[in-house]
Point group: C2
Chain length 128, copies 2
DNA sequence: AAAAGTGTACTATGGATATAATACACTTAG
DNA sequence: CTAAGTGTATTATATCCATAGTACACTTTT
């Protein structure tokens, strides 16, 4: 069952996008695998305190992108081929890192300062 | 005059927020200083291809936060005390780095991998 | 003084996001 | 089989973002 208890919704970003990214991040990290079961729309709606239509929108878009399969009446399952996973694992971190580097350069930071900051925060942030 | 020619608008983030962040980043980087002149609402509207009301919203919020001063009929000027700048220079990079570290952890990346990726992209990205 | 430029305000419209409330067909568990 | 759970669809409402057009007072330039 795909976990959503670790998903903390932040405002400023559309909820349905945060749900989509959470699923993709799980697939890229390997904690979510092909064939795995997803919570129902209604259950996830209750868990996150979000309207069922918002969950449906996220799941519908994920299905259109080929990351899950749904059949009326049955539970939805993750769908991820090896090629899909590999592409995701390759592109997702790269994309995020590029945006980060760009923003840090805009702030006038140096490469060394940025790396030091990342290393410091990496250890500092919640040891799980 | 505060420069906006380097601002490349991306979609998915409200335009008025991108304008606000661009100004703040400039102040934090030291390329935008106290008393500096801003382009008029109409001029910046034409430059970015954005509605004047959107520019006005960004400038109004910046003024409410104390980053600029406007007087009807006259041009708007940057307002940034030493304390404001120092706080910005301290908090902005930290905030962005935290979000980055969190997202990279969600993708299952290691600290070493992340640092290596940042260093690689830092050199790669546009040498201006 | 006149004209141009600037800040500011207002109304109206359209699209995206999110909520609310139903409704129905299908699958699964009892 | 029956009931509960599930996916799916629909209509309506509210808010935010952005655009469009207009208007007016003030400042600066000419």
């Amino acid at each position: 069952m795909v976990e959503f208890t670790t998903l903390r919704l932040e405002d400023g970003v559309p909820i349905y996008l945060q749900i989509i990214r959470h699923v993709k991040a799980g697939i890229a990290a390997g904690t979510v695998v092909d064939g795995e079961e997803l919570p129902s729309r209604r259950a996830l709606s209750a868990l996150l305190g979000v309207n069922p239509n918002t969950i449906q929108k996220a799941f519908r878009l994920l299905e259109e992108e080929g990351w899950l399969q749904s059949h009326t009446g049955a539970k939805s399952l993750i769908s991820a081929t090896a090629e899909q996973v590999e592409a995701l694992r390759k592109n997702l971190p790269d994309y995020q890192a590029r945006a980060f580097v760009r923003s840090m350069k805009a702030l006038g930071a140096t490469c060394a300062d940025t790396v030091a900051l990342v290393e410091t925060l990496w250890k500092e942030e919640e040891p799980e």
